[in-house]
Amino acid sequence: MNKMTLQTEGDTHIVVTRRFAAPPEAVYRAHTDPKRVQKWMLGPEGWTMPVCISEAKPGGKIRYEWSNGKGAGFHLTGEYLELEPYSRLVHVERMHLPDTTPDNHVETSFDPEGTGTLMTMRMTLPDAQTRAAMLATGMERGMEASYVRLEGMI
């Protein structure tokens, strides 16, 4: 039931879906409340997010800083563009590795499904090269870079 899917779409999109047992309101809150984001958006084992800023309002700032506790780290900055509690979020984000990656435009929807939620996250990169680079260098959330099984690409 909780199985995640991740696929590339066209030349510039990456689409992730995941089902959750909780209703849309809870899943939405867990994506926007910094105290909650800090608990799960960590990527590989051993990483933490010591700094988490999430101003959930149009124009609000996003800043996530990750650390592996051994001196390695990177961060992400972004801005919220549209918020429709508790069904839809639109934001832009970029990684600092420390070089800044091109903007990733992310639209996340939370649709009720039975007593749970179907989350669909659709990322749009500026061009095919950027998406390829993102897939190849992948880090963020263990993902940003991650998405996509090879079947989705060929």
């Binding site: 909780n2 995640m4 991740l6 030349d11 992730v16 995941r18 959750f20 047992a21 909780a22 809870a26 899943v27 809150r29 867990a30 909650r36 608990k39 799960w40 958006m41 960590l42 990527g43 590989p44 084992e45 095919a128 090269q129 998406r131 390829a132 680079a133 897939l135 190849a136 260098t137 992948g138 959330r141 263990g142 993902m143 870079a145 991650s146 998405y147 996509v148 099984r149 090879l150 690409m153 060929i154």
Partner: protein
């Protein structure tokens, strides 16, 4: 070239729709340049150029068969990409497993407040 920059080249090679189609065709079995060019409105030199990019990226290899040069998928290169994606995918799945736990504790808290 180290493994990571190899992957970078491989993913860049996949950023082109024609090259993805070529790989999809080769996933079904060996093919010559003529066979690979057939579905496209492209000249054979143009297809050869795409094949060179795929070969440099370690995703396609060439075999000599008399005057023919059939191409096939390079298992090692494709497997390396697959493993990389599987690892990233696993990290993402781990995130969402943690989110399940966060959601479960939110529900518990909510039930507690109602009592």
């Amino acid at each position: 070239m180290d493994a990571v920059s190899n992957l970078d080249v491989a993913f860049s090679a996949l950023a082109d729709p024609t090259r993805r189609t070529i790989l999809a065709r080769l996933a079904k079995g060996e093919a010559t340049v003529t066979e690979l060019a057939a579905p496209f409105e492209m000249t054979q030199p143009a297809i050869s150029q795409h094949l060179k990019v795929l070969e440099d990226a370690g995703l396609v290899v060439c075999r000599v068969d008399g005057t023919k040069r059939p191409r096939r998928l390079a298992r090692a290169g494709v497997d390396a990409m697959d493993q990389w994606l599987a690892m990233l995918r696993k990290a993402l799945e781990r995130n969402y497993d943690r989110l399940d736990e966060v959601l479960a504790s939110m529900e518990k808290q909510k039930r507690g407040e109602k009592r």
